[in-house]
Point group: C2
Chain length 171, copies 2
């Protein structure tokens, strides 16, 4: 598994997450924006994720519900400002329950180098206090690493463009 870099610089209003996937950019983008795959990687392990809406186009809305084992659900939602496949997504992000850091601007950038793809996710908060109150840094780092590991598993299973079907491959 690759490492996920999470940068939370003191005094800034953002969190910058960087992860390199061993797959072409088209494959990473398609997996990242597929509503059917979101429940397999989005959010932390203590919750299951339901996709209420995910309309990946400029002006399209998204809404996910993270549900605890006892059935309690927490809504997250936003709209897409820009969707430029396979290189860039700009969207808003809001935790419906409110509290610090409830509203964020998110900029996802995908860059391909030598068949690998670097995904950079910048989450921008309304203030340093909002960012610092969002989730303790250690908690964010662990849940983001988990999510990105799960996304990597999904991406490894995906067919590569132009690849022939391989029988007998390992599961």
């Amino acid at each position: 598994m690759a490492d996920t870099e999470v940068v939370i610089e003191p005094g800034r209003q953002d969190i910058v997450v960087t992860r390199v996937f061993d797959a072409p950019r088209d494959v990473v983008f398609a997996a990242y924006t597929d509503p059917d795959l979101v429940p397999r990687w989005w959010g932390s392990g203590r919750f299951t994720t339901e996709v209420d809406r995910m309309d990946v186009r400029p002006g399209g809305a998204w809404r996910f519900v993270a549900r605890k084992a006892d059935g309690t659900g927490y809504g997250f939602r936003g709209v897409y400002h820009d969707v430029v496949a396979p290189e860039r997504i700009v969207s808003t992000y809001e935790f419906e329950e409110g509290g610090p850091g409830r509203l964020q601007l998110q900029v996802d950038t995908l860059t391909e180098v030598d068949g690998k793809t670097e995904l950079v996710v910048v989450s921008l908060f309304q203030s340093v206090e909002d960012r610092d109150g969002w989730i303790p840094a250690a908690g964010i780092e662990k849940s983001v690493q988990e999510s990105m590991d799960l996304l990597e598993e999904i991406i490894r299973e995906r067919p590569r463009p132009g690849a022939t079907d391989r029988s007998g491959r390992s599961a």
Copy 2:
């Protein structure tokens, strides 16, 4: 004319503009979100503003073109994340030509106290450098003050809820 407060704090990633209008919140919100009125107040005096799109609802798009006297046009656009009349608008803002500060998150909050309305506009940039490169502070302060003065003129002309028509009022 009231003053417009423009706060550009060193090291932060935002610009905070505050203006008090002597009118109820419904009146200010209606004027602020009316596409037909935008050309009268939005932008700086060196440009005329054309409203290409302004669909003020969650997921709705907006696009304005600021045009110089020689016909050259500059596009600005975004989408609405939240529109909660008459108290809150969250939207994205992008200068299509690129450059520093091209992408912003904008949060507008309207609060009514004693029949007056305070409008606070927070523009959030991707970095301090983006913010500082957007427009020299003095330029922003002047153009924002001009815009808000023009908006105040419009708001003063607007009928008040429940007000009777007054004949012989000054133009």
